[in-house]
Amino acid sequence: MGKKILLEHIDVPGIETFEVYRKMGGYTAVEKAIKTLTPDEVVEEVKKSGVRGRGGAGFPMGMKWSFLAKPEGVPRYLVCNADESEPGTFKDHYLMKNIPHLLIEGMIVSSFALGANKSFIYVRGELMYVIRILEKAIAEAKAAGFLGKNILGTGYDLELVVQPGGGAYICGEETALLESLEGKRGNPRNKPPFPAVKGLYQSPTVVNNVESIATTPWIINNGGEAYAGIGIGRSTGTKLISASGHINKPGVYEIELGVPVEDFIYADEWCGGIRPGHKLKAVVAGGSSVPILPADLILKLANGDKRLMSYESLSDGGFATGTMLGSGGFIVFDETSCIVRNTWNFSRFYHHESCGQCSPCREGTGWMEKVLHRLEYGHGNMHDIDLLVDVAKKIEGNTICPLGDAAAWPVASAIRHFREEFEWHVTHPHEATQPGAVYRGEMALV
């Protein structure tokens, strides 16, 4: 059994209410932090925990906090990134909906550490019901004296604002999120300056993911070292994984980092194996933007060792043989999946969601989508496959924000690992377009 930190009490009836949450030990971290620790001591614990940002990039959270500029007389902000729009990723939604007070408690502890008196939770606009759940939780916490003016009589003030998002994937990119929060079009900003220096309303700002912020109560209650003791190497703690696709038990799982990928897919505790009568073909391990890996490479490293669910192990070998943990959107494909169709589908998403500010992404995402569409429907030629690789390469690394990379990687990796399948679509144009032609994908397995 893996250790549970975030989802420990998820099944307790009524855990979404303040009363039950408090009874299960909730808000003790707020009391401990505000009454007995200084903000710097809280930052220190988070640093010691080694927890890395759970929004995708995996940047150490304590280090990010310590970069926050602190000019005199300028407010600082904490912004929680609850936009969560990456296909395949649905863990933050699950957490906020089921145990909203965990995020609220984390927001209070983190805001205190950063010296923020007004903090924002920017929630994906489509999730209006979650927004209402959070607002109710905030009202409860406020009524109990954990929010508002003079929290627990300590003189610390904090106002929490829930903001519905702009309804675009790009609004999850941290600087686009800040623009959107300021009421503007959600275009990513040029960096530098970084948000830690000039963020929301030109003031120093920390943007963190829901799951990242939700870890802080446990860290404060149990100490950073205890957290660092969980997990493996520099991948400390636990991670929420949203598992979907052709598995027996799709869902959100909390794993201790370091679990073998094979166990995660096949053990009953987690995904419960591939659906009956089918076999594993490929996995997208960290949300749609990370490189796809074929069955053999996702289970084993290039040297033959078991691949583990951790930042380092998943990225072992770079993009040649590895991928990324990303936001933890674990999408499993069995042999009935058509990689070309799937790649086209991902590509369709990035084309639709590009903000359109920089030319490689604005034009390149649409180009890739159109070529993939042709290939999928049997109108491609061999030359198109190399063209896709080259277009992906011309986007990657040349854009303002990482959405360009996110659009390029799935295409480049699918061709790297499943080239025969793209070629098969060219050589078998009629079969490729047959509805329900399960066979389309099997080529790559032999």
Binding site: H351, C358, R362, G364, G366, W367, K370, K394
Partner: protein, 361 residues
């Protein structure tokens, strides 16, 4: 007192060293050296605060971050928004990766941009034409359907043809920064994004005409001049008038005796020096309205600047271009004719190219 001068920073671009003040961007430092060392810029526009970073035309490689931290930067950076550090080493035309990335940017910009230079109003003054000529490939690999838009009148003076727009945002920054009420901006996302006015409102204010000058391509055009002529048949003359609204410093574009267009004056990087008002631009088209200063010096900025692309500047491998250069070696720049003393071409030569003078289809 003299010691209070800020410490100058040393930057090397393509092997040439230059000293600049702190806060200077790589692009500005390179422009200080001048020539080919200056990266191309499609979205950056020096007079517009906050512009730059979008088109990615100006990507360069930083081979050494600074003297203190000489590590190279992992990715190419947009030179127009990246400040220099002391001891920075920049590779512009000397780095194949940079040239490859720029080739990509040209190709991306031309995916949806029609190659209708023969009928486009901006031909000869088009930054994209220059950029494509200097950094692009001769062919495109794009076979898909292109983005199309209806032409739109946005107010009495300006027409927008989004088909040609490269979404550089220059016009948006211009409207934001020099006019009072901005009514136009970017709508939609990705390659569905478009410059538009709020429910087709008119762009109607004293300085609106400047968006035409800043547009690097032919997307925003002057309705009072549109398709009246080709820029290379006109002669620019610097002039000024006593204007209560703006500086009144302009360029008049003559065809024969007539002023057919008025624009702001531009620097060698094709950027407006001082924005002008609509009265000067649209309503003062008589020589008697102006005090004439003399012929405008056309700097390096245009493809059509005389002798910019001479036969001997074309690589031997580029056979087709050499042929073209041979054939058209006499097609000089009319604006420099007075200075060069070259004979006027017989009018039949122009008649042989009817499409160049035709109004846009």
């Amino acid at each position: 007192m003299e010691d209070n001068k800020p410490q100058l920073l040393k930057v090397t671009v393509d092997g040439i060293e230059v000293e600049v003040e702190p806060g200077t961007t790589i692009l500005q430092a390179a422009r200080k050296i001048g020539g080919d060392v200056a990266p191309p810029a499609m979205c950056y526009y020096q007079p517009l605060k906050g512009s730059g970073g979008k088109c990615r035309a100006c990507l360069v490689r930083v081979a050494a971050g600074s003297a203190k931290d000489p590590r190279p930067m992992p990715k190419l950076v947009a030179s127009c928004i990246t400040p220099v550090q002391d001891g920075m080493v920049v590779e512009n035309t000397t780095n194949p990766q940079v040239l490859e990335a720029r080739k990509g940017v040209v190709e991306f910009l031309l995916l949806n941009h029609p190659l209708d230079c023969p009928v486009c109003d901006q031909a000869g003054e088009c930054d994209l034409q220059n950029f494509a000529y200097n950094h692009g490939m001769a062919t495109t690999r794009y076979e898909e359907e292109r983005r199309l838009f209806e032409k739109r009148d946005i107010g009495p003076y300006i027409q927008l043809h989004m088909t040609r727009c490269i979404l550089c945002y220059r016009c948006v920054y211009t409207a934001d920064q020099i006019t009072e009420k901005r009514v136009h901006g970017v709508m939609n996302r990705g390659d569905a994004a478009e410059i538009s006015t709020y429910i087709e409102k008119a762009v109607d204010n004293d300085f609106s005409g400047n968006v035409i000058d800043v547009c690097p391509v032919g997307a925003l055009t002057d309705k009072t001049y549109r398709f009246k002529n080709r820029v290379w048949f006109t002669k620019p003359v610097d002039a000024h008038r006593d204007c209560p609204t703006c500086s009144g410093n302009v360029t008049l574009w003559y065809r024969g005796e007539d002023v057919i267009r008025v624009t702001a004056r531009k620097n060698e990087w094709n950027e407006v020096k001082e924005f002008i008002c609509n009265t000067c631009r649209f309503d003062k088209k008589k020589t008697s309205d102006w005090v004439i200063e003399g012929p405008t010096k056309i700097a390096r900025s245009s493809v059509i600047t005389a002798n910019k692309y001479r036969k001997d500047s074309i690589k031997t491998s580029e056979f087709a271009l050499r042929l073209a250069a041979d054939e058209y070696k006499q097609t000089d720049d009319i604006r420099d004719r007075s200075q060069l003393g070259i004979q006027q071409l017989p009018p039949e030569r122009f008649k042989a190219l009817p499409h160049a003078m035709d109004p846009e289809p």
